[in-house]
Structures are given as structure tokens and as C-alpha cells.
Amino acid sequence: MSGMKPNIYFNKRVAVVGAGLTLFRRRIWETPQEMSWEAARKALDEAGLELKDIDCVVIGSAPDAFDGIHMKGEYLSHGAGGIRKMVSRVFVGGATGVMTPIAGWYHVASGLCSKVLVVAEEKMSPGRPHPQAVFKYIWDPITEKPLNPNLIWIFAMEMHRYMKAYNIKKEDIALVSVKNKNNAIDNPYAQIPAKITVEDVLKSEVLVWPVQLLDISPVSDGAAAMVLVGEDQARQLTDTPVWIEGVGWTLDSTGWPGRDLAYPRYLEHAARMAYKMAGIERPYKEIDVVEPYDPFDYKELHHLEGLMIAKRGEAPKLLKEGVFDRNGDIPSSPSGGLLGVGNPIAAAGLMKTISIYWQLKGTAGKMQVKKPVHTGVAQAWGDLMQASTVIVMRN
């Protein structure tokens, strides 16, 4: 497969050699800095490195207003191991969690840094009475905010458009929530693992029809970290490096009312970029395990289609057939995803990337998928139906 790689010149191949997570919880007592420190220290420990070995630090965090602290990258930097190092913070809304390791990747692939610590953090609990109010400030202040929108509106609008365009039923979508919350039972970091039924989802509180309470990931606090190194370092550190073989990201326009929401075009663009780099021509055949972004249950299906793992409108059918179960042909969100593990925004996307890393390393414990895995993909999504980030890894 590597023979099909396009003619893109990189200074170095990049490997993942360590990762760490905090528990994901609704309200964490520790400060954002303390959470970052715990995740970063764990990642260094798994890599067998000390902070002095790290050249560069990449921090990822979503809107400052959640933690309630501006210049969050700078604020987090000492807990994230950034003091007196080259530090940057990346932000592409909910897609930040996968953008953070992508940014770490180009620090190493370019030859600029040889060992990079990547840290993502989000604390959504400080906002009172509910972090939902913070989302009002992502909308256009002239043409949208005067309508008093809440964030769930835009998801509900996209979900209903997707359902209408492809004739998809709510009970088919609810199966994602059932699968992911059940998968999370085997994830020691998970916030809301549960055995639920489709009926439970359909009977839960109606928030913004067609979205109900159990269609949505929870409000969460948490941090995640990862260590990336160049190929010259990787073999010295571990016998089982996991390689980042493709990355892709795209931002579409904030003009979401002016384009069809039934299909995430921007994700297809991001996926094509990552697949081209990794030499993937038939994603539905070549990808062994996937962690698509699932802040809402329909989003996992929408993203599996944008990733071209399922044809447009056909992800629900494959889900029903068990293709995406942990012991299925293409396990999807074997970690339990955001619906089961929790959704501290940037940390959640990095958690998905770490889940794929652990699957490919064979250290996912009870989360490990049944089939042998060689190629894995993690994806995140964000902003006003705009941004997607995709990372392809191989062992």
C-alpha cells in the first residue's frame, strides 16, 4: 500500500509513543492546569520520557469561555509542560481535539522538533447556570444571535435535514447511542457508560426535536495528552510505535444556512487529503477501526458517510447489521465515544485519537476490538457545521 503514496515530501515520519488521559467527569475538582498536568505526566510516563526530552508543546482547547479564562493556551502552559519551550495553541472549534495531534505531527514531520508533547483540555463545568449559554456567542451577531439560538438548534436542524434527505428514522439513529454507551462500560475513563435500549433514547426528554436527551453527549471536564516523535527516535523508545500516516483538515464557510446540511462536504475533503497521504483508496475496505466524532448520535453516522466508510444515507443500515460493533467488520467508537466517555471538547477529540493509538498498539484492554487491526482513523468536527479534522494511523 505504501507504494501508492503520493509524492509529498516530509522530512520525517512521525510516531506516537505515549498517551495519557484523566477521567472524564461532569465536574472535576482539579483546575484546568492540574488536569493538563495529570494527562501530560501520564503520556510522558507511557513514552518513558521526561519533560527535558521534549522540544515543543502543542496545546488544544476550544472556546475560552467554557473554562472562563482568556488566553487559555498560555494559562494551561505550565501544566502542559510548556515552560521555556516552543508552545502554540490550536483552535478549530470542536475539531480541535484531532487538530492538536495534527499540529504536533507537522512540528515533527517538518523536522522542526524531534519530540512533541500534545495536550488538550476542556473544563465545561464552571459556566453557570449551564455551559449551553456560552454557545450563544458562536453565532453571527447580526443575522443569527438576535433569534436567541442555543447550540442544540443547529444540530437538530442538521439531524432533521439528514433524516429527511435519506429517509432515516430516529430509532435507527438511537442505536448509535445504545452502542457507544455500552462500549463505554469497558472504558475506565468513561463518564456515562450505560446499558440502555433504543426505547430509552426515544422516551428521554425532548430538548429540540428531533434531538432528545440520550441523543447527546454530556457536559464534561477532562484532559488528554500524547507524545509524538520522529522515526529516528521512535525505534529507540518502543518496539511498537504507531505511525501517523495521513492527516487532513478543512474549514467550510460560516454561511451554514446557505448550503445543504444533509452531507458534510468539508469532511469528505479532509478525509480525501488524509487518505491520499496514507495511500488509502477504498476506505470501507482498508480502514480496520474508526473513531468518528459523536457529540450527537446522528453525527457518528453522518461522519461515517463523510469519511466514505459508508455510502451517503447508508450508515444506519450498516449499523443495524452490526458492522460498527466492537466485534464487527469496521468497529466504530470502540472507546464508547463522546456519548459514553464524555465530551470535554478538545480533550474528547484527542481521546478519540488516543483510542485508535491504543487499538493499534494492542493495549486497549477490554476496549480492544476482536479483529486484528492495521489501519485506524480518528476524526473530529466543529464550529457552525464547518470544520473537520482527520488522522490516519498504522502500526
Binding site: 484523566t22 477521567l23 467527569r25 461532569r26 465536574r27 472535576i28 475538582w29 482539579e30 492540574e34 488536569m35 495529570e38 472562563g68 453557570r128 447556570p129 449551564h130 449551553q132 449559554a133 450563544k136 453571527d140 451577531p141 447580526i142 443575522t143 443569527e144 438576535p146 433569534l147 436567541n148 439560538p149 442555543n150 442544540i152 438548534w153 437538530a156 436542524m157 442538521e158 432533521h160 435535514r161 433524516m163 429527511k164 463518564q191 426528554e205 425532548v206 430538548l207 429540540v208 426535536w209 428531533p210 434531538v211 471536564d221 477532562g222 464557510s253 454561511g255 451554514w256 444556512p257 446557505g258 448550503r259 445543504d260 446540511l261 462536504r265
Partner: protein, 166 residues
Amino acid sequence: MVTGLKDEDLKKVYTVTYKPNAKYGYSAGQAYSVFLQGLKDGKILGRRCNKCGRVYVPPRMYCEYCFRPTDEWIEVKDEGIVMTAVASFISWTRERLETPEIVGVIRLYPSRDNDFVYPGLFHRICTTYEKVKDMSIIGKKVKAVWKPKEQRVGSINDIECFKEVE
């Protein structure tokens, strides 16, 4: 290992609370100022790029794709097709609403059924929860219900909602 708290536990640990008093006055700029004046006059105005043909509603003075100035103002119809519609039982602060608020996206004319991009507005839709629930409102033709002229101030709220055309 981090410590998860329950809501009531927050009273037992040290917390510092603060309420920012942030107020903003957002200026409407080149394109939206004309758009808002149009709403006040009972018109929905867009900008057309003559290179790619795209009509921007809400308007932009530049074309996002061609990255050149858009060429002219055009009045689009205050009618279009409901692309999606939802019924909100929660407010923007997540308080429960007894009567749902119904909002959605309207693809305005001139546009065609298979367009991927089009002049589109996010707005309220005056319809019933039942029609949202069974999705029958999606795909229907709707028309703007304007506030009386003397009540219009140059705001997106100068349109009350979009209502089904029989």
C-alpha cells in the same frame, strides 16, 4: 487521579464566583448595513457574484470562492423552501419551554432544488409541532410574515417568521 464532584459537592469545596458584565455593540459593516435597511423596507437583499453566479443571502461584499468583490445587489423573493425545521423545548440558557419555538432554514428563491449552495436564511417558522415531528413541513413553500412597517427597526427580527403558503 482527578476527582469528580456532584452538583451539591460544589458547596463543600472552595469556589470563586464571578459574573462578567460584558456588553457589546456589534457594528453591521458594509454588507449587513444594507441588508438590515432592506429588511426595514420589507425586502430581502442579496449580493451576486457575476463570475460564479452565486447569490449571497445574508449578503457579502466579496465572493468566498472567487475571492473577488461581489458585483451587485439583488432583491431575492421573500419566499422559499423549508430545508429543515426543528422544535425547541429549551431556551438559550437551557430552561424548559412549555410551547416549543420552531426554527429552521429557508432556501430562498431564486434557487433550484438540487443546489448545494443557495441564498438561505435561518429563521423562525410559523407552523405546528406536529408538522415538524412528522417532517411534513420540510420541503414546503413558505413566505415571510413581516412586522408592520412602523415596528421595523432594521433587524433580522423585522421578519416575524416564515409561514406556509397554501
